[in-house]
């Protein structure tokens, strides 16, 4: 390293000897953290004399006479020009967020922002490394235009709901393709339990991430052909940089609490309103004078000291959670060899009792230039992650489970105790919560006993590695090859005690272990060409990529524990059966190419082509061809533009246009196209049965995407504007096409290519250096996305696709032609009849019918308002109740710096959608469930106008417990203060000779404030996780927590 510097110095000396000159020296540091930047190009303005800074950021340059300023340029930083005054010129470089020379990572290569003609966004790793999250994807909210990220619930390590430019499929995943250092990896939830989630992206230590590039339009994603219909996230991990070894230590600790919990009735209120409901039922049933029908069923319990038992179940289900995260990295290198090494330890608690996440990881990356024409690179990461959670009812397919913690927290009776006087759990004879003096049977569990007597864990053990090389060939060709492996073993363990009070009591206790191995390898090779002939710049890329996923799962389910001592599968049980067995493989083979051409740095053209083979598709259509073209015109480089007055204000103008066709064949089932028979048991006899009706013609979904964009740079690029219009027509949608149940097809569905839809909208990104002074700066970035989704065709005569939340009685969403995917669905209501307090429904004929849960014998529960018998409201009366997909969303982030202080404010917002506040149905449930305090607004007197019907015991329909009703549909618009961070950079003089070069301490808060008219816990909640067809449902799920963090970043 030093040799090079001296060689350069020598060179400059030689040049300097030819003219009158002087020597200028100085130091280049990064503006944000004062750390020295090596390798910065320092040039004299207007003259081709230049040097580079050394490892300490120092430079020394011989400057010819007449030169009055120096230019400093470095990739990733804004170029600055400083006047020469005196012998020393120190420069502080500011990192660019969207400078034209910024590198954009595109598939199988990089381009500069200037050359790039598609639509992409880059998110720096520094934005995710300090966030109190489990996986980096959770920290991207509001960071980029067109990218919507929502947390479906507050359980640790849930995969967030990510949508890049909307929902682009119906039955397939709308999760983007995630590529880490070149290898596409598994996403979603790989846990086999509906209690504890396991997002495999949490295996990546967020601090190892250098950058996240989001590819949004077809022209950018089509290099990934069929795998990229939902966009692509390209993750680049950190690598060493030439220079002295840099050591960085980052740590944070945090505290999380539940936010926005509903206010519940206490014991007195509970008994009051429940008994009111019991009495109303007695009267309405015509039993006012019938002594065999109770007038009250709820009675108080007293503690030993005579006080009323008044249990707040929140105390046993929620907690203040503490978390910590430590990260250390060492990186550096010389001219030929660079390295990066890091270690991470994370130990996080969730605010629901028992919810934990732990990660230990190690990563190394190394680059070596073997010879001038051969480069070698390798990397590897090993980690273990551990997830533990009780069932919260928040994950998909757990909404109505009796063990769901979120519902237990609100529904359990407050007038009974957690423990008996002798310290044992208060339980009924079947193990549910004992109801004390209440005369009703309870089906819900004693949360404390349930939690103590069960555990659900899922643990990953993973190695990801890659090795590759680059050979420089003659004629500007370069050959690149990378082999990557990703071996992920997951162990899912569930234990339910045999003791009374456990949900496993009825089976004598149970333990389930399921082990899964996901083996994934990828070999990608490219031959590229890059050359300039005068004003012509041509690059070309040809490649071949083959990837294979093999998944094996096996396990066992044991019941009837020999003794309640056993708390795991390895104990002694009398019955053991196989559980969770599976074996599948999937392969992709792809040929691709990209050609770019630009003329005179003004006109840019890119064309992509990819031919993909996918093993999961039908025998008749395994291969598909995809591609895109894009063009850009840097108007501001044109002479005519430079002559315009406006060019002094708008100094950069670029027009972009692209069109592309990408596919989607990401069926989750590796054998989706095949008709299959599976084997099981009939008693002890072996069976075969039709387990899947296939479709040999199953082919790709295809998206035709058009993208038109305008990029502006104003006031010396201090303000940058990016506007993009996009239209994505998706055809041949793969649908789990519903089949008439009477056909007896497994799951009543067959995957078919039917249906089409579009996503259309525009994005606006604004980045501004509002104030840039020596001691004070304000940078702001704002993004806005407007999107419209509409389904234009569906299977078999456009019949609706009904989406269900957990069970088939909860038909909560409908996908209907002419509306957006997964619109809210349910019975339409029209308030409460002031005359009698009954809920009014609107039937399919548009008539008003009212409901009373209890009526006297011979009367009908359902009547018209005049009292005549009406047909019951059923699913055939359901209406589409509103769009569930946000129509607009985005973020606003501000960074203020004053001397050594920095303040970051990140705000996210979304709206234009409706949310089914199904939890409201639970909070008003008229069984023995506790209610929220708003229940006091129930109807009581003739003429009263209210939205809460008369309380009738066991009424499960009027408030939306049995099926969704429009009374619970609310607007989902919100603005969230996602994070607020205050940091202080310790002045470097403090460190003396300690070896510390920089240090920053910070405090931050996440989810501090939510402005919304939505009355549920969180408008971003999603009981169905990432599902395309059932979005916008909040039902019995835990909301997001509020987190306070303090942290430190130290550099050596």
């Amino acid at each position: 390293m030093k040799k090079i510097v001296s060689a350069l110095l020598l060179l400059s000396l030689c040049l300097g000897a030819a003219a009158q000159s002087r020597r200028i020296s100085g130091k280049v540091t990064a503006k944000d953290n004062d750390s020295p930047i090596p390798g910065v190009s320092v040039k004299t303005t207007g003259k081709a004399i230049g040097v580079q800074t050394d490892a300490q950021g120092n430079f020394s340059i011989e400057v010819p006479e007449g030169v009055t300023s120096l230019e400093f340029t470095y990739i990733g930083y804004q170029k600055i020009t400083l006047p020469i005054s005196g012998q020393t010129v120190n420069a502080k470089l500011e990192s660019t967020t969207s400078g034209l020379n910024e590198v954009v990572v595109v598939g199988y290569g990089t381009q500069t922002k200037k050359e790039f003609t598609g639509a992409a966004a880059r998110i720096s790793g520094t934005l995710v490394k300090d966030a109190p999250v489990q996986s980096f994807d959770q920290a991207l909210s509001g960071r980029a235009a067109g990218v919507s990220i929502a947390s479906p619930n507050g359980v640790l390590n849930n995969p967030p709901v990510i949508r890049i430019r909307g929902v682009n499929s119906i039955s397939l995943s709308s999760y983007p393709l995630v590529v880490i250092d070149g290898i596409p990896v598994s996403t979603g939830n790989i846990s086999t339990s509906t209690s504890v989630p396991n997002n495999p992206l949490s295996d990546i230590d967020p601090a190892d991430i250098e950058s996240i590039d989001v590819l949004k339009d077809a022209a950018s994603t089509s290099i990934y052909g069929s795998r990229a219909a939902a966009g692509v996230l390209l993750i680049t991990t950190k690598r060493g940089k030439e220079g002295k070894a840099k050591v960085v230590y980052d740590a944070w600790g945090s505290l999380t609490k539940a936010a926005r919990l509903p206010k519940l009735l206490d014991a007195t209120g509970y008994m009051k309103y429940k008994n009111e409901a019991v009495y109303n039922a007695k009267i309405l049933g015509g039993n006012e004078n019938n002594t065999s029908v109770a007038a009250e069923l709820f009675f108080p319990d007293y503690n030993a000291d005579g006080s009323l038992v008044n249990t707040n179940w929140y105390d046993y289900i929620y907690r203040t959670a503490y978390s910590q995260n430590h990260n250390i990295s060492v990186s550096g290198g010389n001219k030929t060899t660079n390295y990066y090494l890091s270690a991470n330890y994370s130990n996080q608690q969730g605010f629901v009792v028992d919810n934990e996440f732990k990660r230990k990881s190690l990563r190394f990356n190394v680059d070596h230039e073997v010879t001038k024409w051969l480069k070698f690179r390798a990397g590897g990461a090993y980690n273990t992650t551990f997830n533990q959670s009780q069932n919260t009812g928040s994950l998909p397919n757990s909404t109505f489970l009796l063990i769901g913690a979120a519902r237990l927290a609100t529904a359990l009776a407050p007038n009974v105790s957690v423990y008996n006087a002798d310290g044992s759990y208060n339980l009924s004879s079947t193990g549910t919560l004992g109801m004390g003096n209440n005369l009703v049977t309870n089906t819900l569990w004693n949360a404390k006993a349930l939690f103590d007597l069960s555990s659900y864990t899922t643990e990953n053990d993973r190695f990801q590695g890659n090795v590759g090389g680059t050979i420089k060939l003659p004629y500007h060709f370069e050959l690149n090859t990378t082999y990557a492996m990703d071996r992920l073993r997951t162990e899912n363990n569930t234990w339910l005690s045999s003791q009374l009070g456990s949900s496993g009591y009825s089976v004598g206790g149970s333990a389930t272990n399921v082990s899964a191995l996901r083996n994934n390898w990828d070999w990608a090779s490219t031959l590229s060409f890059n050359n300039k002939y005068r004003k012509h710049h041509v690059t070309a890329l040809f490649g071949y990529d083959v990837q294979k996923f093999e998944t094996t799962t096996w396990g066992a389910y044991a019941t009837v524990a020999a003794d309640n001592f056993f708390t795991n599968y390895e104990g002694s049980y009398s019955t053991v059966a196989a559980s969770g067995n599976g074996r599948s493989e999937k392969a992709f083979i792809s040929y691709f190419s990209r050609v770019t051409y630009d003329f005179n740095n003004k006109y840019f053209l890119t064309a992509n082509f990819r031919r993909d083979g996918n093993s999961a598709l039908g025998v008749n259509s395994k291969f598909g061809n995809f591609g895109g073209v894009s063009a850009g015109w840097l108007v501001s480089e044109e002479g005519f533009y430079k002559r315009l007055n406006i060019s002094h204000i708008v100094d950069n103008v670029k027009l972009r246009a692209s069109w592309g066709r990408v596919g989607n064949g990401n069926v989750s089932n590796d054998y989706a196209s095949q008709s299959l028979y599976s084997s099981s048991l009939y008693g002890s006899a072996a069976t075969w049965y039709l387990s899947q009706a296939g479709n040999p013609d199953l082919a790709w979904e295809t998206s035709k995407q058009t993208n038109l964009g305008l990029d502006l740079g104003l006031l010396n690029n201090r303000i940058q504007v990016e506007g993009t219009w996009f239209n994505n027509d998706v055809n041949g949608l793969i649908l789990s096409a519903p089949q008439s149940a009477s056909k007896g097809i497994p799951d009543n569905a067959i995957l078919m290519n039917v249906g089409s839809m579009y996503n259309r909208g525009w994005e606006l990104g604004l980045t501004a250096s509002v104030i840039r002074k020596e001691n004070f700066s304000w940078d702001a970035s704002f993004n806005y996305t407007h999107i419209k989704n509409e389904v234009t065709a569906l299977a078999s005569g456009n019949s609706d696709i009904i989406g269900y939340t957990h069970t088939s009685s909860e038909a909560s969403n409908v996908t209907r032609v002419g509306y957006s995917v997964g619109s809210l669905y349910g019975a339409k209501t029209d308030g409460v009849n002031p005359a009698n307090g009954r809920r009014i429904f609107i039937n399919k004929a548009g008539e008003k019918v009212q409901y009373s849960a209890t009526v006297a014998s011979g009367e009908s529960n359902w009547t018209y308002l005049d009292g005549t018998t009406a047909a019951a409201i059923s699913a055939s009366d359901y209406y589409l109740l509103g769009n569930a997909l946000p129509k607009w969303y985005g973020g606003l982030s501000n960074t203020f710096r004053y001397k050594n202080l920095d303040l970051g404010i990140n705000i996210t917002y979304a709206g234009g959608n409706y949310v089914m506040n199904g939890t409201k149905g639970t909070l008003r449930d008229q069984r023995f469930y506790n209610n929220y305090t708003d229940i006091s607004k129930r109807w009581t007197t003739v003429g009263q106008v209210t939205d809460i019907p008369r309380l009738v015991y066991n009424d499960q329909i009027s408030n939306g417990s049995s099926y969704p009703i429009s009374a619970n549909v609310e607007k989902g618009d919100f603005v969230r203060l996602q994070s607020l961070t205050l940091g202080y950079r310790v002045p470097s003089k403090v460190f003396g000779t300690s070896g510390i070069t920089s240090a920053r301490v910070y405090a931050s808060g996440n989810n501090l404030l939510l402005l919304t008219g939505y009355t549920g816990t969180d408008p971003e909640s999603s009981s169905n996780g990432n599902s395309n067809t059932t979005p916008g449902i909040e039902k019995n799920a835990v909301g997001q927590g509020r987190t306070f963090t303090v942290g430190i970043n130290v550099g050596f």
Binding site: S429, L473, D670, Q674, S684, S809
Partner: protein, 478 residues
């Protein structure tokens, strides 16, 4: 030299593609077989037949819950949990098209029907793998399964046959194997047409089913000739075709006085001396004509197991004003030992095994055939035979009981007494609401101090189950 580099580069690039595309892309699952091979061996064909039985054994069908729905609709049980996942909606007759039970039951019965249709279609074309005799037997078993499922559906989802001699709309009658996306739309056949198909299937089944199998287990869990005949007595009884009930019953109940037993066919069906042995001890006696086998590796638990709902979790107790208090059910009646008492409430313990819930679920018992026969005999004027049959069933569990003359003197009295006997003998085996519906009787009101269910008149829309959404939304001709 430079050219060599280039050639090496291109060669290496192309070399990678030598991985066979076919090997990589034509993946074949190793845990299931493709449709092309399903009928490939004798073992697999037998597996398909067992698979169709297993579909009948699904939790929502004869794995137990179908019995639960049909029982709790009637007046014998009182619900305590108001939980719609354990048949509360059946108990208070408040089902709607979206209800889980309504959708799951329909879907599961039709799955079994399609499995049967696949076997029937596959065996019609497959030759050489199994003998013609076996081919005919398997086809007969499939038709028996299809008949059982259609009968199970038509009696709950369609207007009772006796209301209008089957003129009402019944069910979509699916008789061909469905394995692709065609044929979603199919209009309902009339109730009469559905019954005609059921009887055609059972007649054909009777012709080709074996007299018996090699073991008691197989005799109980797979259909033989008597199984088809026994089911026919139930079907004809539901149609009030008493002459045919007598005709069919006589084939397997040839005697006119006790003891009654089957003589003509391989399996000598007869009442066991102690009814309690059928529940919990010996599931494969000659009294159990057709039952669903349960083993520790193939059984249901939790809300899928009726043993859990009735017994372990005590969600239904016996209505004190139902059959429990009837004088015909004497205190010494052995059948009372199939109940247990807790806090003065009686719970059914016909399915009493704790986890794993391996009690077999009875579908057809010989005592039911005797009672079917008795009712038909009474209705057709053979009062002596009717009384003999009735007494045989009753005396087996309570030998000391003597029927009052008034209870057996006339045809009408006998029919009423037999109806009571059915409620005692077949309690918890899925008969009560079916018996109410076939006689077009009102479903009585019932309740406790906290939960009440109103009576349901035959004219009420909830007298039968509503059609499920999973059919309504896709079958435009329904």
């Amino acid at each position: 030299m430079k050219k060599i580099y280039l050639y090496i580069g291109l060669g290496a690039l192309l070399g990678f593609s030598s991985c066979s595309e076919k090997d990589l892309l034509d993946t074949v699952p190793s845990t299931s077989i493709s449709d092309a091979n399903a009928f490939g061996s004798a073992t697999r064909i037998l597996g398909l037949v067992n698979g169709a039985y297993d579909a009948v054994k699904a939790a929502s069908l004869y794995g137990g819950r179908y019995l639960l729905y049909c029982d709790v609709r009637g007046e014998e049980f009182i619900n305590v949990t108001a939980n719609s996942y354990t048949a509360y909606e059946s108990w208070n007759n408040s089902y709607n098209s979206g209800s889980n039970d309504i959708n799951n039951l329909w879907s599961q019965a039709y799955t079994a029907i399609n499995d049967a249709n696949i076997i029937i279609a596959g065996l019609a074309t497959s030759t050489g793998v199994i003998s013609d005799t076996l081919n005919a037997q398997y086809t007969a078993e499939a038709r028996y399964i299809r008949a059982l499922c259609y009968f199970s559906l038509v009696t709950v989802y369609a207007t009772p046959y006796n209301a209008d001699q089957g003129a009402s709309k019944g069910l979509p009658l699916r008789l061909q194997a469905e394995t692709n996306g065609d044929n979603n739309d199919l209009a309902r056949s009339s109730v009469a047409e559905v019954y005609a198909q059921i009887l055609a299937d059972l007649d054909a089944a009777e012709a080709n089913l074996p007299d018996s199998y090699s073991s008691d287990l197989l005799n109980t869990t797979r259909a033989h000739k008597s199984t088809a005949i026994a089911l026919k007595t139930r079907v004809y009884l539901t149609m009030n075709n008493f002459a045919k009930v007598v005709e069919e019953a006589a084939k397997i109940v040839p005697q006119t006085t006790a003891p009654f037993s089957t003589t003509s066919y391989g399996v000598k069906h007869a009442l066991q001396s102690d009814i309690t042995t059928l529940f919990g001890t010996t599931y494969t006696t000659t009294e159990s004509i057709f039952s669903m086998p349960m083993t520790s590796t193939d059984s249901y638990s939790g809300q899928s197991a009726i043993g859990y709902i009735y017994n372990a979790n005590s969600e239904y107790y016996l209505n004190p004003s139902g059959i429990l208090g009837n004088a015909q059910w004497g205190t010494n009646d052995k059948r009372r030992s199939l109940l247990r008492v807790a806090s003065n409430l009686y719970y059914l313990k016909k399915y009493a095994k704790a986890s794993p819930y391996v009690d077999y679920i009875p579908v057809i018992r010989y005592s039911e055939v005797l009672l079917n026969y008795a009712e038909a005999a009474a209705q057709t004027g053979d009062l002596t035979l009717a009384a003999n049959l009735l007494k045989a069933v009753h005396a087996r569990s309570d030998a000391s009981y003597t029927f009052a003359d008034a209870d057996v003197a006339t045809a009408a009295a006998l029919v009423a007494t037999i109806a009571v006997e059915r409620r005692i003998e077949l309690l918890g085996e899925g008969f009560r609401s079916g018996d109410l519906l076939r006689n077009l009787q009102t479903i009585p009101a019932k309740g406790s101090s906290s939960l009440q269910a109103n009576a349901v008149e035959p004219s009420a829309s909830n007298y039968i189950f509503p059609a499920p959404n999973n059919e309504l939304t896709t079958n435009k001709l329904y």
